[in-house]
Symmetry: C2
Subunit: 589 residues, 2 copies
Amino acid sequence: MTYTAPVEDIAFILEDVVQIGQLSGSTAFPDYDPDLLMPVLEEAGKLAQNILAPLNALGDATGCSLTPNGVISAPGFRDAYQAFREGGWMGLSVPSEFGGQGLPRSLALGVMELMHGANMAFALCPMLSFGAIEALLAHGTEDQKQTYLPKLVSGEWTGTMNLTEPQAGSDVGALKTRATPDPDGSFRLTGQKIYITWGDHDLTDNIIHLVLARLPDAPPGSAGISLFLCPKFLPGPDGDAGERNSVNCIGLENKLGIHASPTCVMDYDGAQAWLLGQPNRGLAAMFTMMNSARLNVGLEGVGVGEAACQAAFAYAQDRKQGRVEGVNGPAPILHHADVRRTLMTMRAKVQAARAICLACGMAADRALAAETAEDREAARLREELLTPIAKAWSTDIGVETASLGVQIHGGMGFMNETLAAQLYRDSRIAPIYEGTNGIQAIDLAGRKLAMKDGAAISTMLDDIRGVIRQARETNDPQLVQIATRLDDATHALRDCTDWMRAAMQEDRETALASATAYLRLAGDVIGGHYLAISALRGRHLEGTRRGRTLALAGFYAETCLAEAPGRVAGIKQGGAAALRESEAVFGLT
Amino acid sequence: MTYTAPVEDIAFILEDVVQIGQLSGSTAFPDYDPDLLMPVLEEAGKLAQNILAPLNALGDATGCSLTPNGVISAPGFRDAYQAFREGGWMGLSVPSEFGGQGLPRSLALGVMELMHGANMAFALCPMLSFGAIEALLAHGTEDQKQTYLPKLVSGEWTGTMNLTEPQAGSDVGALKTRATPDPDGSFRLTGQKIYITWGDHDLTDNIIHLVLARLPDAPPGSAGISLFLCPKFLPGPDGDAGERNSVNCIGLENKLGIHASPTCVMDYDGAQAWLLGQPNRGLAAMFTMMNSARLNVGLEGVGVGEAACQAAFAYAQDRKQGRVEGVNGPAPILHHADVRRTLMTMRAKVQAARAICLACGMAADRALAAETAEDREAARLREELLTPIAKAWSTDIGVETASLGVQIHGGMGFMNETLAAQLYRDSRIAPIYEGTNGIQAIDLAGRKLAMKDGAAISTMLDDIRGVIRQARETNDPQLVQIATRLDDATHALRDCTDWMRAAMQEDRETALASATAYLRLAGDVIGGHYLAISALRGRHLEGTRRGRTLALAGFYAETCLAEAPGRVAGIKQGGAAALRESEAVFGLT
């Protein structure tokens, strides 16, 4: 089973749907030239197809191992990382003054989708490094930047995020790792962190850990958390990795999936570290990385979903069972109506998720690049609104698509050597980490809907209305029908949004009990919005690509959007019912 | 993590919802005494809790192994099987003339749910044996019955079903295994079968394989398939296992889940076998077993779903994160609104699935036991209607519940040692085997809706209408509200049923493209029907159990049923959209 980089689909969303071309000539992205788009995606596609994808099954079967000298990564991963590093992929969206290429985030996200789709376990390593780079860019001193950024941006070193402790998962504020000041201005970290992705490995000769810990005088809870930078090897006077620091991987988790990504228990035993950013402001600093990581995790859902679509389609073309009218002899199961609908569901939802994620990335870019302060603020609000949807909706779609992919494979899908089975396992982490999807829903329904008195969601709804109008004005019957479905679905979303905003004020628990259902509806409708834009803009495409764009939007409208109005009751009454009835069922008071 | 046998929930459905008491005194079940119900379930619950559940994690971690002497089962499974056998569980619903206890099928299904919930990999072994027993009862000669039934019914030997070959999965008619007649009236089987559950093992000293194969003069396709009985060891003159037959397990599959259930590649190399039933009528004979196996697989969804509910609830009680109003200190996550709704969704759907499956079992019992021929025929139609729903809807719910269970566990749910992760893997096979859920949907939308000009579905809809009326007549506001939701949902189902029956005549491919969506709606509504009956009948229960019954129905009504009307468009227009649009997307013509 091979992975084919979906370069055309990503390029179409970037160019035509989110219109990345508008960034060209901006002061924020002086180096972005629209002619770069296809070469960058194609080159990344080659890395994904030819280097990363062929290692995916072996990495799953072999995993990593912990030795007295640290973690040994899966076979072939060192060479693959070397190819990744030499391609300059780590610095794609990092400003050129720090050794990067200064390209838009949205383009870098398109590239990350390709890596996730080809080999999610591998792609997690640069994903975490990117988070560390962002935190240094935002909060590092000049000295810290000079010391660490060039090596992180070149990929010579990698970075990690250390938040979770056994008692502190979603509730980060409960963490206990201590930071004791040293006379030289550095700190000593003591404590254990769990679930640290790529916390140790043999791909590079140093690893830079970003660690949340408490200063001695810190207030309790999340107001008393500081962010520290703790290298595995202390940089020597020449800037290279020097003395070994007392931070160690003391355990590897045995996981359901992403076996080639080492998930480490990290022990800090008086490890030397430096404060990154302000004391007791570590959580805010970590959220700089987290928001961007959330969007990246959304793209894991897209990447894995894409891989699941491809594997299922290939299997359905190949596997012959039964007869279908119009097909001579045993028919490839692709021709069976139930299989066709399943494949369409997978394909349409993955494309919608891709568009949501790249639109979120584009909003992040425009928040830097738009000409007026007003436009930049509007873009920032859009990014804030879309981030929890991109994370939660896309990763749920990733899991659902992977599960449908298993189903298409029949008995073969239950065999561990089948890619479909691996994707079912790998995909399952994405709704959990970087803030569970339940946390995302609370973020959306609580914080994001309330921002600027609802400005973020109401401009989103206005944009959808504009697209509905454009679709109707074409007088193309297919587009008019899509507009009708989108209009009905948007009414449902507006209705639920009004209800949710009011409920958040009046009866917060009830509102929270419907937050997940609300996020799902928001993703369904906003996904339909971007597919409708695709259908509008896709009319200039040629031949089959034009028809394909319209077809995905049309199918999505008749299924996903058509069901949206029916979900209002479950949102508006379901939460209250959950709280009321769960008292009797679970003995809660 | 321990499994607690849900004896009360099962007993309530059997006694109050499907009213198993009506079988007492029937000629079909002369030995059934209502006083047996609780002792049987409690005793089965002890076996499940104390013997089977403790082996589940070890079985998953260790799996089975293939040696030159055959398959070695997972640690502890031999002793567990011995306990199962000594309890007489295999013969629970087998007529006493063949050594069974002659109890109703529905009660035996309740027992099977307990085994599946405690250890699905183990429970598959008796499940397959039961299929072999049924086939012998229905199609065996007197001699065959005398030779094989006592040993199968006592559990001294086990049975298997051999259908699938590499090129013949859903399309059983494509199988190639040959049966050559021997002068003594027996046959020689030659060919390979795959995906044979418990095809070899060391639990018993013989295994009776039921094998589909072709006679030399057989017509092509499914009309040329015959069923054969092929023992691993040929019974000697004393009836005990004698000479080794030339049937061997030559490979074990490496699977996503149910690791302790050996999934065998079986090689028949001129193995001696006997025709079971009529030549070329093997498929019909196999369907005798298959229908009953399908219902059993539905109960796997229920059992695994129940186990997932219990594990998630226990974790949510134990795991403390964040604060909730009204809870001192860090709150168990059970108190968070989003977690409460998730747990309610899991619990309500599993109870609905349980009721559908046990109602299907009860229909099977009444098809034998009802007093008039008319009632028996009506029960048979009900059984036929509910079988595909019990299989497909319940197993989909099983997978979804297991996935929600992983989500409740957060990062811990992604760890392989966590039961939640095992259930996510184990559950995934149930929508695939014994006829994929897509095949079930085709069976429902095609054959079952058409039976007797729609009599099966229309009496079902009439029954629902009766329950709605009863609920309204109570004047209890909660029941009246449930009735309102059920009424709206039933209108949607009726509408889609009319559409589906017409579409099956006029445009079969379009109908088939909506078959899965139709089955899902039918399961949602019929599940709500049985929960409404539960709420009505549960009013005689005491204290918390009464409230619990009403609460599950009430929550289900405000969420699952409330969304049902919104699914009509996706059924009536979604299939056509899938076929139309998939041409452009997948290049189909």
